[in-house]
């Protein structure tokens, strides 16, 4: 069957309205079951022993004393897991290598970061498990470590992987290094472009790693049976991919592992990969008891993926009338302990908002002694865009051109050829700029020490493998089984709404659930803003299949050809003309007799969704700077974004607001702080400072809808674009307020105050 369903404009009854989400009541009453809420009779508690060193060779691990402790039922170390060859697989927006996956979940030859797992224990209580960890004797040979990306790129830097020779450079280097891979994306002749420029600006930017900061720590429960089957409950963004990864590292057949999704307390890219899951299964296999493992917040910070910290160099040139002639970027990203940062994605998003004849991005993926990075909402893009949008702001200012006008003169439009590959179809970038310029926020007055900044973002959005099933129940209600985890954005509501729209019934007649891995076909992770796009398309395809069956059934009952039966407003009605007349039947009428006229009615779809629509956004922010303390206050914030179509506008607004708030945190205070010993100093929410509610104003949103032609309702995906612009927008606003351009993130008070003092010193 054809899997791609194109956009059709039509009158909508359900799509575009704001019903309550199906998971809402459970969440506000506390009934919703998150990862840590699952338990089984006789379960053990699993805990992980973690490296206290940033970099060390493991000489020996002695678990005998821990095993002898009463209450300890199993201990696993590297010896319990097989060596894995180099083999790549997609995991969310990033690629994983099983050679490294198995080493990240349990150290083998070396530990590569503070917090790297070296052993795991299952015991009858948490306190016994903790005590047992203290009885495991690990002999380390401590090695020199490197934390900073530029330090790691130096020729004499401590080397993480002796066998790592830089990929992507010719000739192949004769020495191993921490530079795992270099990628170059290029179009035109950048040098020629710079020769045409009247103004050239070159700046260097630095950002710190930041954590996804989900409220729910990773939690799982595993039960392995004597006949080699296992059940796993885990809070992830994609239970099918968790199943694949666990089966691989545990050398199990996929059919023997069943993974149940739980409600997710946030993920933002950080719950795409396995951490404790294979350890819990291995401990259950060894102990013959179910094993539950819940991370502490400290473990979440020390061992699960933050995004990269980075060093970024941007050089751009433009003509006197504000036309960009050339753009060059060098992106140096920390990958953490193993290669595979988001630098490639960042490289493709660096300049993509602009129509450029000459552009080049050099992307370096660098291993350092930090936790292996994970995807984080539009992985990598905010880092590169911080640099580019700062430089654009500086160019516009230098030429005396309004920053939105400057961007409009260079904006990507339908037909623009990108420097990394595709040519754009219909996109809404220009519309977001125009609506931002027309918004009352953009012309509101500002007070002393206040400033306004603008920045823009682009994200690809993706499709990929997706399955969906609908079952028409005997009373005419519908159960919708979705295979993409609702990462708490409200996608279940959106799917139910599209199904209700197709069937012509009320949305509360459709109950969406997330199926487990044994109940439906494979679904890729909820990542890349693909949920409502790809799963929505699968839901529509499944519903249309069910509607075809409904029409056939009515044709059979009413003894008319199927062409005579039209599905309209929840009823089978005569198509009109010569085709034949019959009394209409409602969905409930057909459902009631379905059993005796051929069996229950269902529809299913298994697709690989293609044609995701790129998303663009423009942000406006007002700040006030306290020049005596360096404190930046966010006064007003507006997000304008093209989402294709907002199926449920309230949840789309929630995505735009949430992305902006996470971006504000990244810009203002969030950062990993390491000591000279390579140990993380702030693994908790007290000292890793995400914004609290009172730190941010109400985030105003403007939804722009330029339909994606490759989705039945025009959906593009909206969750990632809004985190891209905030860092640059806020930096531009600070420059506008106090005349100082900040090129280091976060713009925490000590950094801002120092910049103010340095500027005053330079003037004096």
């Amino acid at each position: 069957m054809s899997t791609m369903i194109k956009y059709e404009e039509k009158d909508l009854k359900v799509v575009g309205t704001r019903p309550l989400r199906p998971d809402g009541v459970d969440k506000v009453t506390g009934r919703a079951r998150f990862g840590a809420d699952y338990s089984l009779p006789g379960q053990l508690i699993g805990k992980v022993l973690r490296s206290p060193h940033a970099h060390a060779r493991i000489k020996s691990i002695d678990t005998s004393k821990a095993e002898a402790l009463p209450g300890v039922k199993a201990v696993v170390t590297r010896d319990d897991f097989a060596e894995m060859p180099v083999e790549f697989a997609l995991s969310g927006e990033l690629t994983v290598n099983f050679h490294d996956v198995t080493r990240n979940m349990m150290a083998r030859e070396k530990v590569y970061y503070d917090g790297h797992p070296v052993a795991a224990v299952a015991a009858t209580s948490e306190s016994i498990a903790r005590k047992a960890l203290g009885l495991i004797e690990v002999e380390y040979e401590v090695l020199p470590h490197v934390i900073d990306v530029l330090e790691a790129m130096k020729p004499d830097a401590p080397l993480l992987h002796e066998e790592q020779y830089t990929e992507g450079v010719t000739p192949r280097p004769d020495k191993p290094s921490n530079l795992a891979k270099r990628m170059v994306f290029s179009r035109g002749d950048v040098e020629a472009g710079f020769r045409q420029a009247d103004v050239i600006i070159e700046r260097e930017f630095n950002t710190k790693p930041v954590h996804q900061g989900y409220i729910e720590p990773q939690a799982c429960l595993a039960s392995y049976t004597e006949d080699g089957q296992a059940d796993l409950w885990t809070a992830s963004q994609g239970h099918f991919v968790i199943r694949s990864q666990c089966a691989k590292v545990l050398q199990m057949e996929v059919s023997k592992l069943r993974v149940m999704p739980t409600e997710l307390g946030g993920g933002f890219g950080g719950k795409n990969n396995i951490y404790n899951e294979p350890l819990a299964i291995a401990l259950s296999r060894k102990s013959h008891r179910p094993v539950k493992m819940v991370m502490t917040r400290e473990e979440v910070f020390r061992a699960t993926g933050p995004t990269s910290g980075a060093n970024v160099r941007i050089k751009m040139g433009c003509t006197r009338d504000g036309r960009i002639t050339a753009a060059h970027a060098e992106l140096n990203f920390q990958a953490g302990a193993f290669p595979g940062s988001s630098v490639a994605m960042a490289a493709m998003c660096t300049f993509t908002r602009y129509d450029l004849e000459h552009a080049r991005v050099v992307a370096n993926d660098v291993t350092v002694n930090r936790p292996k990075v994970a995807a984080y909402r539009a992985p990598g893009a905010p880092i590169a865009v911080f640099g580019v949008e700062s430089v654009i702001d500086e160019m516009a200012k230098k030429l005396g051109i309004d920053p939105i006008e400057f961007r409009l003169r260079n904006a990507a439009r339908e037909g623009t050829q990108t420097y990394y590959g595709p040519k754009f179809g219909p996109i809404g970038y220009v519309q977001t700029l125009e609506q931002a310029r027309a918004h009352p926020h953009y012309s509101a007055p500002l007070g002393p020490n206040q400033g306004r900044g603008v920045a823009t973002g682009f994200w690809f959005n993706i499709g990929s493998e997706t399955s969906s099933t609908i079952n028409v129940n005997e009373d005419g209600t519908v159960t919708l089984m979705i295979g993409t985890v609702d990462v708490a954005g409200g996608s279940r509501a959106a799917m139910a709404m599209m199904v209700a729209e197709e069937l012509g019934i009320d949305v509360d007649k459709v109950r969406p659930i997330i199926g487990d891995t044994s109940s439906m076909g494979f679904n890729f992770i909820t990542a890349g803003s693909r949920g409502t796009f790809a799963s929505g398309m699968a839901c529509v395809a499944a519903t249309r299949q069910a509607i075809d069956k409904l029409r056939q059934r009515v044709a059979q009952i009413r003894e008319v050809p199927v062409e005579a039966v039209l599905w309209k407003d929840g009823h089978a009605v005569p198509a009109g003309g010569e085709a034949g007349q019959f009394a209409p039947m409602s969905l409930a009428d057909v459902a009631k007799v379905a059993g005796r006229t051929g069996g229950t009615i269902a529809g299913h779809a298994e697709i690989n969704a293609q044609g995701a629509g790129p998303g663009f956004g423009t942000h406006i922010v007002d700040v006030e700077v306290d020049k005596q303390t360096g404190l930046i206050k966010i006064l007003r914030y507006t997000v304008v974004q093209d989402v294709g179509k907002a199926i449920h506008p309230a949840y789309v607004e929630g995505q735009l607001q949430g992305g902006a708030v996470q971006g504000i945190g990244w810009a203002l205070n969030e950062e990993y702080v390491y000591g000279d010993d390579g140990v993380l100093q702030n693994p908790g929410f007290l000292d890793y400072r995400v914004p609290v509610a009172s730190d941010v104003p109400f985030i105003d949103t403007v939804i722009v809808e330029v339909p994606n032609p490759n989705h039945p309702y025009g959906v593009r995906g909206c969750g990632e674009v809004p985190i891209i612009a905030p860092m640059a927008a806020i930096a531009n606003a600070v420059e506008n307020a106090i005349g100082i351009r900040l090129c280091e993130q976060p713009m925490s008070p000590p950094r801002v105050l120092k910049a103010i003092d340095d500027a005053a010193g330079a003037k004096a």
């Binding site: 400290e298 360096g630 702030n682 400072r689 609290v692 009172s694 008070p749 120092k754 003092d757």
Partner: protein, 290 residues
């Protein structure tokens, strides 16, 4: 965590007896908002918890001989909602209001905030500026000690084994007095002070400052009483020149460290800025008719 005993005595005598029998393996618990976190993280493993919230005297707020006295187990919210106390010591209330969320303040106590001995504790500089005494009862009897002498360093106090802080005693409030406490945090709430400054002052009828106390938090191993900063105000009309001197003296008194919460350089500067801003608020409060 191994086996632990929890006791909630109804009298001070019983609490002291429990502590003296525990060989130093006991901890006193008031609100528990710091203690439970330390236990959960494995930092401390007490064998006995003595909960003092059930001792009526330790829960009282009263005016005695013209000055306020409040028990060490009075919760932050009880203190905040005590209108007469809040009118007399708005600066102490500034500090108490900043301890955690409303929910945390419903449990947390000033006694616990002082005895937890964090250099960044928000009620401590305000109490020091107010000139508060802590009444301590132990195996050897009773003693009254200025609050600045209780914390000696991060997590350390001058309390002897078996001693309990039972109450805080504030001096009689003089006319034309005002106090204020400000802290710097990079967020708006739910954070820990990077710098804290408490200022308490009294004016004469002509508006000259006759008494002043200044205290700084989070800029040394414990909250500091900065007499040089106070001296900058006494005898002045708390004008711009005096405030500049106050700020300079406050900065000079800091002995901060670089840590995850802020740099040394930042703390030196902001200590002066906050001391000045707190003095301006205290001055305005002193000028109010009370």
């Amino acid at each position: 965590m191994s086996d632990m005993l929890y006791e909630a005595p109804g009298t001070l005598r019983a609490a002291l007896a429990l502590l003296s029998g525990a060989n130093g393996k006991a901890r006193v618990m008031a609100g528990g908002t710091d203690l439970l976190i330390q236990m959960r993280s494995g930092r401390i493993e007490p064998e006995l918890l003595v909960d003092i919230k059930h001792i009526p005297d330790l829960r009282a707020i009263a005016l005695k001989r013209g000055g306020f006295q409040f028990g060490s187990a009075v919760t932050c919210m009880e203190l905040i909602e005590h209108e007469a106390f809040a009118r007399a010591w708005p600066g102490v209330i500034d500090g108490v209001k900043l301890i955690g969320s409303i929910q945390v303040k419903g449990r947390a106590t000033v006694g616990g905030n002082v005895c937890n001995a964090s250099p960044a504790a928000d009620s401590v500089p305000a109490l020091i500026a107010a000139g508060a005494l802590a009444r301590i009862v132990g195996p050897d009897g009773k003693r009254d000690v200025p609050v600045e002498d209780i914390p000696t360093g991060p997590g350390k106090t001058s309390l002897a084994s078996g001693e309990i802080v039972v109450s805080f005693i504030l001096p009689k409030r003089l006319p034309r007095s005002g106090d204020a406490y400000l802290r710097f945090i990079p967020r708006t709430e739910m954070d820990i002070a990077v710098v804290g400054a408490g200022v308490n002052l009294t004016l004469d009828r002509r508006g000259f400052c006759t008494l002043a106390r200044v205290s700084l938090g989070a800029v040394a191993e414990r909250a500091l009483l900065v007499s040089e900063a106070a001296a900058a105000l006494v005898g002045t009309k708390v004008d711009d020149a005096a405030l500049r001197q106050l700020a300079a003296a406050a900065s000079a008194a800091c002995r901060p460290i670089d840590d995850k919460r802020g740099t040394k350089e930042f703390r030196f500067k902001v200590a002066g800025v906050l001391a000045r801003r707190a003095a301006e608020i205290a001055l305005q409060r002193a000028g109010r008719k009370n």
